[in-house]
Structure formats: structure tokens, C-alpha cells
Amino acid sequence: MEQTQTNLLQGTLDLLILKALSLGELHGLGVSRRIEQITGGTFQVKPGSLFPALHRMEESGWLVPSWGESENNRRAKFYRLSRAGRRQLDAETREWKRIALAIAQALESA
């Protein structure tokens, strides 16, 4: 599991974050937990990878940050998808499916 996580490709991490946020606004830990949940626990994103990615994506205009109250009434930074972020999610999803199909075919052809 450790291994999977460190080897997570940057593009894959971006895609997972976009997907996690497509269901609604989340703070950092929320994103982490949502990714665990939707991947059935296969991917655990550590803060050392998560926060650099969130900030980079925010600067790219895919995520819109806002400060709000967390479930335990603490001020926390929330992220939601921008319109550009949705487009990015669509584009990356298509791209991922194309690659996954190609790789699956390649593996079967052997």
C-alpha cells in the first residue's frame, strides 16, 4: 500500500482529486478521505503529496478555495471545482480511459 502511494503518478493524483471534488466542496482531510473511499482504500494520499497538488491545481484555476467552518467548528480551507476544473476532469477522464483501454489491450495481446 505504501508503495502504491509513493508511486502515484502526478496525473493520477490530479484526476483523483478532481473526481473527489466533483461530488462537492471538501477540505484537505476530506479530499483524502473521499479518495480512500472511492478507490476502496487502494489510494491513501498523504498531506506531503496532497497539499502541493491542491495548491498547484488552485493556481491552475481548476479549484476555487474558500474558508469555512469544518464539522468540528474549526476554520478550514475548502476546495470546490471551478468550471475549468470540470472541463479538466472530463478531459482527463477521457484520456485516462483511452490509456487504460490501450494498456489493457496491450496486456491481453501477449
Partner: protein, 878 residues
């Protein structure tokens, strides 16, 4: 869209840093708290939950640092931060910083100065438009072993007419000419050029016009074009000189133009005349023309060469007697002009580059020592989340700050050094006037600075960043000590420094020995007490013939009767290249079949009877000339020993007869054999033949040699007066003691030997400092150990031995390495050496001894200090 957003973020990140930082901190701590809250919900108590959460985050500071690195402008921001921090660190250690900058400034400055010479002489294109397309012709005859010959006018005309690769082909004859203006006659260097010459160089006159093809036609009024230098010197830069008549020789000549500054081809020319081209009236074996051409835009050198080869093959068939075996070699004009400067300059550049490497090793050593004492600082930064890359980058930034500061100071030093160099380089070096800084020199200095910064910074930076956090904190807890690794790196630096110094010293030693040998070479004459000067009796007043011979005879008689003068004579060209030209003529021995060696010829020298006495050229057999050898007496010739040995082996040439080219109507009897005089210090003399000037008074200028018992310099005014008493219009020039002629022949070697020697000394000095520094550092590090040893009863000499052994081991290793390096490298010197082999054992031994002694000296002082360590103080310092 995305790019624009990132730019906005960049602005925010850079301009509103505190806010961005605060928000980041808040975001991460919220994460930790949320995580802890989760764990509390799972049943942990508050404190344990918080600890577990922090552990899971794996370092809040590390996470923040990674976010910062991911953000826009992170690179720029950290660079700025590194620079600010670096400047602070360097300013806090002014001693270290000053030593490092001075060392680098010397290294980079010397390199830039030498490079500015290399740049001007070897690299920069000639100062004419599209000058790389200009090629130089060189007459060659491989079967006779002749290279670098001038060419004949008819051949020139055929090349021009029958080749298609050239836009222009121009011929010229460089030679002295006579300019008279006002009372004193002044000799200026003039060149006669064909009509294509100025168009070929694509350089317009600054005032008036250049020469046109019509200027050389028969009956056209004589015209001339002045160089910028002559115009300023002689006519005070007066623009109205164009159109004025000046006296050149005895001929009134109109100045039609002044060339811009920097136009001085062929080298040193100050006045240009039209050359009357008349191929029909010229012989094909009279080769006196020099030829240059401009390639057409679509023509290549190789193609032009092939085309000329074809023309020459036809000429060799059509004119077998004069042209068989003759060809032409084309060379890029720039390469031709400076080709013989290449090896010495590159050797000097190599030597100075070694000095820079040694300087780098020294600075790297300083940095390594400092990195050791900064171990704790790096450990703290590591703990605060700086990645290893970040620490390496910080240290490299400091190195680059040092090297750029050193480079800037070095550039200033190089401006001054370049002045010094120009004074040192022999004045006949081509393109000397073009030496100066330009963009390329600044670029070189910058590149050298960056390169050295990386070179000396990389090892210490990697070293420092590799440190284990715990170890560093522990070790640092004591006295800023260092691990064994740092010691090894510094040892490696010292070993390579000594090896490089040895290579330089060995090279300098070889050059010095060659120079001393050359200086001791007997040139075949005795220059001591002899004054040399050149005079010209030519023009309509002194036509070639007996009258001219008579003027020289009278001049020599007058000078010969001056008080103190022992003998005076004259010759067509001085030995050791004193007159920079040499006439060669072929000859035929009477009664023997002609050989190729004969037609390759011998040096041809017209001389007066006093010449041999004045230079004390020994008479081997027969006689030299007397006043009775005149145009009416039997024709005679005197040959040198080499010619006698080569052409009359085992017998005496005296009494034999030869016919020399150009006097086919008669033969000359060999009446004597004299000793060889060398034309260059490092080359054996070739065959030489002397004829009495009275029997060949066709030469307008002769060199006078006057031997006196007094100082030759004291004779200058008196000799000049005697000649001017004869005729004020006879110019006297190139007046200098014969010793200066000998020195000038060695000037280039003196310069390169001096430079490489100076660099070797600099290298020695740097090594001294380096070894001293390392030994002193070693002693400081081992204070405690030495104190313990002494407390346990070690004697001073044991301590001395301990410290010295450490440094001397490195010295020996360096010498061994240097020996291999030198053996491999000094081979490139081969063409510059004389009478020494590139691996001369004596020179290598001397270099090793010198370097060894310096190393001993360098570690003696710190070693002695080690013996003064007071055990009590050393131990209490714990």
C-alpha cells in the same frame, strides 16, 4: 487562461508572502486538528490523538516546504532567498570571503587577459567586411621542398584570368619606400598594389578615394593612399592633404586618399601605391609578388584550390622550364597571418587554465573546511524541512556569488594585465593593435566565473548535504569537527593541486631550459660592440650601378674613420632575421650535372669587405672580399661552411666556379669559405653565398654594421651625421645595437617563457597557501588528540613527525600523479622546445624538488605550532 492565473498567483505569492504563509500554516494545522478529532472519535485520548496525527503528517514544516516548492515562482523566490542568505553568510566571514575572491580574481583575471590576446589574434575575424572569404596564396614547390614562396606576375595574370571561384584576385609587393617631406627624410613602409586590392578588402577610403585600376597605367600621374596612422603622424590629420603633392623618393606624388583606422594590410603598411601590372614584360621565374583573393559567395576554398591546381597543371605543361613542379596553396588569410602564433598562445592559455584549476582547488578547500564547521547549521535546516537539494542549491548559490565577485574583480585585473601583456609581446606580432576587451572576452570571463563557481562549489556542497542529521548534531556538539569524508575530499584537492602545479612547473622548466640553450647558441657572429642601421641610397639620384656602390663605400669610409670604430661593413640582410627578409637564389656548379638541391638554392647576400670583420664571422679558408673586388675585376663569391660541406663534400670549394641565377652570362669563382651565420636561433644555418656588393649594386638598401670599442649606442648620432653629411636625403632607420637584433630573434620565446614561468610561480604560491591551510586546519582539528598524546609523554618531534607525515604523504601522492600528467602533457610543447626532450629527467627532478621544498615549508609552520600545544589548555577546551 491557465497561464494568466498562474501569473496572478505568482504576483500574490511574491507580493503578499506573509498572508500566503499564514494561510498555509492555518490550512495545515486545521488538517492536523481534523485528523486528531477523527482519532478522538475512534476512542483515543486527546494528547495521544494529537501525537498520532502529527506523526501521520510526517512533519508539518516538510509539508509546508513542499507546498512552497510547488507554488508558482517558487524557484525565483528561493533563489532570491538563497542570494540574500548567501550574501549574509559571506559578509559574516570577511577574511574567508576576501581570500576566496582574491584567489579567484587572480585566476579569472589572468585567464581573461590571455584569452583577450587569443581572441584578438586567433579568433576574431580580420577587420574587413566578410573577411573570412579572403584567402592568401602561397607559392609551393614540393619537389624542391619550397613553401611560402612569392609568385610571378605572369602566373598571377593567368590565375586571375582562368579561375572562376574568385570575386577579386589582387597582387602586391610589400617593401620599404621613401617618403620625403620637409628636411628630414623618413622611411615609411609602403606597398604597391594591383587595382583589385581595395575592392577586395571592401574598405572605402575615409577621405578621398582608394586606388583604381587606371592609376597604374603607363603615363598616369603618380598617386598614393595614406594610412590613418601616417596621416595623423605626418600631416596632423589635416583633411586638405588629399589632392596635395608629396615627395615620395624623388618623385612628386599626389595623395588621393586616406584609409580608415585599422586598415593596415599588409601588416605595418603606411602608404599604398599602384602596381603597374605588365605580365608580358615579366619572367615566370621571377617570383616576387604576393597574392590575395576574395572567394565568391558561392565558392568554397577546396573548390578554388582544385580549380587553381588545374590552371597550374596547364602552366607547368606550357612553361615546363619555369613552372614545372610549382603550385599554389590557398589558406584563409586570418589563419595564414597568425598560424605560427597558434601553438605558443594555446600553450600559454593552457598554462593559465591550470592556474585557475589550482585556484579552484584552493577555494574548494576553504569551502570544505567551512562546510565542516557549518555542519550544525545544515542539520538545523534539515530539521526545519529543507530538502537536500535545497541545501545543495544554497551552497552553490554561495559559491556562485563568490565566483561572480571574483570574476568581476578578475575582469578589472585583466584590463590592467592586458596592457602589461601587450607591452611584453614582440611588436611584430600580427594583429597586436587589435588586442582589447570585447563582448567575447566579457562572455569568457562570465563563463569562467560560472564554471569555476560550480567546479569548486559542487564537491563541498554535496559533502555538506550528505551529512547525517544525528551525526552532525552530535559531532557539532563538540567542536565543529568533521567526519572522515570531509578530510578525504580535502586531501584529494591538495593532491590534485600539487599534481597541477607540478605539471606547470615542469612545462615552465622545459621552456626555460630551451630558452637558455637558445640564448647560448652561437649565432655565428659576435654581436657585442656592434651597431646596426639600415640606409637607403636609391631613386633617380642613385641608380643601380657603380655610383651607388661608391656612395656606400664613402659612407662606410666616413663611419670607419670615426674615433673608436674598429671596422664597418654592409650587407643585404642581417642574420637572425634582423631585416625580416631573405633573398634565395639557385645556382649551378660548373662542370657538374644540375641537382634539385642546387635549384633549391642558397641564401644570397651582397656584402662589403668590412662586413665579415665587423661581425667577426670567422674565415675558414681562402679569403673574404677586398676593395679590389669591383665590377671590373673577376667575379667572385664566398660561401659558408654548410654550403661548402653540402656541395663540395670532402674537398675545398676554393677555386671552384658557380653560376648564380640572374647572372647567367658569367660564373663566379669561390674565393673563400666563412663560418655559418644563423637566420633563426633554433634552426641550423642553411647554405649561404656572399657576393661583393660592388659586383651587384642592384640593391637600394643595405644594413650597416659598425664595430667599435665604445658603447654602440654612443655612436648613433655620429654615424647618422656622417651619412647626412654625404647626403641629407639618404634615410637612416632601424638603428639599434646588434645585441637587440639577437634579443628580438628570441623575443617571442622570451615572452612565452616568461608568461608560463609567471603562471608556474603563481601556481606554486597557490599550492603553498593551500598546503599551509590544510595542515593548519589539520592541527586545529587534532588539538585535542595532540594534547592527549603530549600529556601521555609524546615528544615534540613525534608531534612534528605526525603532522608533517600527513602533509608530505599528500605531497608525494600529488607529485606522482603530476609526473604522469606532465609526461602526457609536455608533449604538446615539443615544437616549442630546443635541445631538451619533453620528458627531460633533470627538469622534472628540479620541478619535483622545488615543489617538495615548498610543500615542506608550507607544513613546517603549522607543524611547529602543533608542538607548542599545551596539553592542559587543549584538554580543558573540551
Amino acid at each position: 487562461m491557465t497561464g494568466w492565473r498562474r501569473l496572478l498567483s505568482l504576483r500574490r505569492n511574491l507580493l503578499r508572502r506573509p498572508e500566503v504563509e499564514r494561510e498555509l500554516g492555518e490550512e495545515i494545522s486545521a488538517y492536523v486538528e481534523l485528523l486528531a478529532a477523527e482519532k478522538i472519535r475512534e476512542g483515543m485520548d486527546a494528547a495521544a490523538a494529537r501525537r498520532a496525527a502529527l506523526l501521520e503528517v510526517e512533519g508539518v514544516e516538510q509539508v509546508k516546504e513542499r507546498v512552497r516548492e510547488a507554488r508558482a515562482g517558487a524557484v525565483m523566490e528561493t533563489i532570491l532567498q538563497d542570494i540574500r542568505y548567501g550574501v549574509r553568510v559571506l559578509a559574516k566571514n570577511p577574511g574567508f570571503t576576501a581570500v576566496a575572491i582574491v584567489t579567484l580574481a587572480l585566476g579569472i583575471g589572468a585567464n581573461s587577459a590571455i584569452f583577450s590576446v587569443v581572441n584578438a589574434v586567433l579568433l576574431r575575424p580580420l577587420p574587413y567586411p566578410d573577411s573570412e572569404r579572403i584567402v592568401s596564396f602561397e607559392g609551393v614547390n614540393p619537389s624542391k621542398g619550397i613553401t611560402d614562396s612569392n609568385m610571378s606576375v605572369p602566373d598571377f595574370a593567368d590565375w586571375r584570368a582562368q579561375s572562376h571561384a574568385f570575386e577579386h584576385v589582387a597582387g602586391f609587393v610589400a617593401g620599404g619606400s621613401l617618403l620625403v617631406a620637409g628636411e628630414e627624410a623618413e622611411r615609411v613602409f609602403g606597398t604597391s598594389v594591383t587595382g583589385d586590392f581595395f575592392p577586395l578588402f571592401r574598405t572605402d577610403a575615409m577621405l578621398g578615394r582608394g586606388l583604381l585600376p587606371g592609376d597604374a597605367e603607363k603615363g598616369a600621374p603618380p598617386v598614393a593612399v595614406l594610412s590613418h596612422g601616417l596621416w595623423l603622424r605626418r600631416y596632423g590629420g589635416d583633411p586638405s592633404v588629399v589632392g596635395r603633392q608629396i615627395m615620395v623618393g624623388r618623385e612628386s606624388t599626389e595623395v588621393v586618399g586616406v584609409m580608415p583606422p585599422g586598415f593596415n594590410y599588409p601588416e605595418r603598411t603606411e602608404i599604398w601605391f599602384p602596381f603597374p601590372l605588365d605580365p608580358a614584360a615579366e619572367r615566370r621565374d621571377n617570383r616576387y609578388l604576393e597574392v590575395v583573393a576574395r572567394l565568391k559567395a558561392d565558392a568554397a576554398l577546396a573548390g578554388a584550390q582544385a580549380e587553381l591546381d588545374a590552371v597550374n597543371a596547364r602552366l607547368a605543361q606550357g612553361y615546363a622550364e619555369t613552372n614545372s613542379g610549382w603550385g599554389v596553396r590557398l589558406t584563409n588569410l586570418r589563419e595564414r597571418l597568425t598560424g605560427n602564433m597558434r601553438t605558443p598562445l594555446l600553450v600559454i592559455l593552457g598554462a593559465v587554465a591550470l592556474v585557475l584549476l589550482i585556484a579552484c582547488a584552493n577555494v574548494a578547500n576553504l569551502l570544505l573546511a567551512r562546510a565542516a564547521s557549518r555542519g550544525r547549521e545544515f542539520a538545523v535546516r534539515d530539521a526545519l524541512g529543507a530538502s537536500r537539494l535545497r541545501i545543495v542549491r544554497q551552497l552553490l548559490t554561495e559559491s556562485l556569488l563568490l565566483s561572480l565577485a571574483g570574476g568581476a574583480a578578475g575582469m578589472l585585473i585583466s584590463l590592467w594585465l592586458t596592457q602589461l601583456l601587450v607591452g611584453l609581446i614582440p611588436t611584430n606580432t600580427p594583429r597586436l593593435g587589435e588586442i582589447g576587451p570585447d563582448a567575447r572576452v566579457f562572455g569568457f570571463a562570465l563563463a569562467a566565473s560560472l564554471f569555476t563557481g560550480l567546479l569548486f562549489g559542487l564537491a563541498p556542497a554535496l559533502q555538506a548535504s550528505r551529512g547525517n542529521l544525528n551525526e552532525a548534531l552530535k559531532e557539532g556538539g563538540r567542536s565543529g569537527g568533521e567526519g572522515a569524508r570531509g578530510g578525504r575530499a580535502r586531501s584529494a584537492m591538495i593532491v590534485s593541486e600539487i599534481a597541477l602545479s607540478f605539471m606547470l612547473l615542469a612545462g615552465a622548466g622545459l621552456l626555460l631550459r630551451s630558452f637558455l640553450r637558445l640564448r647560448d647558441v652561437n649565432p655565428g657572429f659576435n654581436p657585442g660592440g656592434v651597431l646596426a642601421m639600415r640606409i637607403s641610397a636609391s631613386g633617380p639620384k642613385y641608380p643601380a650601378g657603380p655610383a651607388r656602390a661608391e656612395v656606400y663605400r664613402q659612407a662606410l669610409e666616413r663611419i670607419g674613420s670615426l674615433p673608436g670604430v674598429e671596422s664597418a661593413g654592409a650587407v643585404l640582410s642581417l642574420p637572425l632575421g634582423g631585416d625580416t627578409f631573405n633573398v634565395g637564389r639557385s645556382f649551378i656548379r660548373e662542370g657538374r650535372p644540375a641537382t634539385p638541391e642546387e635549384s633549391a638554392g642558397a641564401s644570397y647576400l651582397a656584402a662589403t669587405p668590412g662586413y665579415f670583420r665587423a661581425l667577426q664571422i670567422p674565415l675558414v679558408s681562402g679569403r673574404t672580399f677586398t676593395d679590389q673586388d669591383t665590377e671590373k675585376s673577376p667575379m667572385v663569391v664566398v660561401v659558408n661552411e654548410t654550403m661548402a660541406r653540402r656541395f663540395w663534400p670532402g674537398e675545398s670549394p676554393v677555386g671552384k666556379r658557380i653560376t648564380i641565377w640572374r647572372d647567367e652570362k658569367f660564373a663566379r669563382e669561390v674565393v673563400g669559405v666563412v663560418g655559418d651565420t644563423r637566420s633563426a636561433p633554433g634552426e641550423p644555418a642553411g647554405p649561404q653565398m656572399y657576393v661583393p656588393y660592388a659586383q651587384d649594386p642592384n640593391w637600394g638598401s643595405l644594413s650597416l654594421v659598425v664595430r667599435s670599442s665604445a658603447d654602440p649606442a654612443s655612436l648613433v648620432a655620429a654615424a647618422r651625421n656622417e651619412i647626412h653629411a654625404l647626403d641629407k636625403a639618404i634615410p637612416v632607420y632601424n638603428v639599434r645595437p646588434m645585441r637587440d637584433v639577437v634579443a628580438a630573434a628570441l623575443a617571442e620565446r622570451r615572452a612565452s617563457t616568461l608568461l608560463v614561468g609567471a603562471f608556474a610561480l603563481l601556481a606554486l604560491l597557490l599550492s603553498l597557501v593551500g598546503i599551509y591551510g590544510v595542515t593548519a586546519y589539520y592541527v586545529t582539528q587534532r588539538r585535542h588528540e595532540i594534547g592527549v598524546r603530549m600529556a601521555l609523554g609524546a615528544q615534540a618531534r613525534h608531534v612534528l613527525g605526525l603532522v608533517m607525515a600527513q602533509s608530505l604523504r599528500l605531497t608525494v601522492a600529488g607529485l606522482a600523479l603530476g609526473l604522469f600528467g606532465a609526461a602526457a602533457l609536455t608533449r604538446v610543447l615539443e615544437s616549442l622546445l630546443y635541445g631538451v626532450r619533453p620528458t627531460d629527467p633533470a627538469t622534472f627532478a628540479a620541478a619535483a624538488a622545488l615543489l617538495g621544498a615548498v610543500a615542506l615549508l608550507a607544513c613546517l609552520l603549522p607543524a611547529r605550532r602543533a608542538t607548542k600545544v599545551d596539553p592542559l589548555i587543549a584538554l580543558r577546551a573540551e
